[in-house]
């Protein structure tokens, strides 16, 4: 039987599918009776979504033009 600390330590790896079968079973057994760690799992999932949905600036047209110009210059090299 694993402790809350052990379960929490492995939660992200569990959600990422990076734990082996025995670790997965141990975590799921712990989650079956530990409400607090279930909250930790739900929050870890929220944090993963939070990071995945965090937007980033797309390639601006002027930067794209400069980068393509670099590629064209490289193509012209003898």
């Amino acid at each position: 039987m694993i402790t809350c600390a052990e379960a929490v330590r492995q939660l992200w790896d569990y959600l990422d599918g990076l734990v082996d079968e025995s670790q997965r079973e141990a975590i799921e057994e712990h989650l079956s009776f530990c409400r607090r760690c279930c909250g930790e799992v739900e929050f870890a999932e929220e944090l993963r979504r939070f990071l995945a949905e965090h937007p980033e600036t797309e390639l601006p047209d002027d930067a794209r033009a400069r980068l393509v110009a670099t590629l064209e210059e490289l193509e012209k090299r003898p």
């Binding site: 939070f50 995945a52 980033e56 600036t57 390639l59 980068l67 670099t70 590629l71 490289l74 193509e75």
Partner: protein, 200 residues
């Protein structure tokens, strides 16, 4: 992936392939670079295009080209981040290891009238706030975290990009997650996000 004794410059046919590859990948490469070095993204991609052009002739597997070019961008970004850092940051990993953002929010209860305390906490953060928190992480932890969770790369791909064993990558990812949680909390405290309705 790389054949020995190939000429350093690509053949005409291959270099044409490089331009097509790079143009196709530019939006993705730029986005990755933005996440890793912010305003220096365009310069980092420029660096990577030059390196990629020189190395393209040695690339044996065309299917691996996008990942190969991504690895070059990631490493150009890391070079820039390292050059910018005055000295490596000392991180108290033992303290961070024990930190749980979920428990801290529950214990501190920053929004007493909230019935979705943890979600409300995350909703205080705008895109610039998240960018600032990620930028505050040491490069060795930020890069795996951003590539896996923001960009959706598999941990094995990121280990390849960084040229480190998978175990090393997983350890850095684990510490990166813990440190990110800790820094989110510290940032919220410092910038007044722990007050009811601070940003809404």
């Amino acid at each position: 992936m790389v054949r020995a004794n190939e000429p350093e410059e690509p053949t005409a046919r291959q270099s044409g392939g490089f331009q097509a590859l790079a143009e196709r990948e530019l939006p993705r490469l730029y986005r990755v670079a933005r996440r890793l070095v912010g305003d220096e993204a365009e310069d980092a991609v420029q660096d990577a295009l030059l390196k990629g052009y020189r190395g393209y002739g040695q690339l044996e597997d065309a299917a691996a080209a996008p990942a190969w070019l991504t690895a070059i961008v990631v490493n150009c970004c890391r070079d820039r981040a390292r050059a910018r850092a005055r000295r490596p940051e000392v991180v108290e990993l033992d303290e961070v290891e024990e930190f749980s953002l979920f428990r801290t929010i529950a214990d501190e209860d920053p929004y007493p009238y909230s019935d979705s305390l943890h979600l409300d906490f995350l909703q205080q953060f705008g895109a610039e706030d998240v960018r600032a928190v990620l930028a505050s992480l040491p490069e060795r932890y930020r890069v795996p975290l951003v590539l896996v969770y923001c960009e959706g790369y598999h941990v094995k791909e990121v280990a390849f990009f960084l040229d480190v064993p998978l175990g090393t990558m997983l350890a850095r990812l684990h510490r990166g997650r813990k440190l990110f949680e800790r820094r989110l909390w510290d940032y919220a405290r410092e910038y007044g996000l722990l007050k009811e309705g601070a940003r809404r």
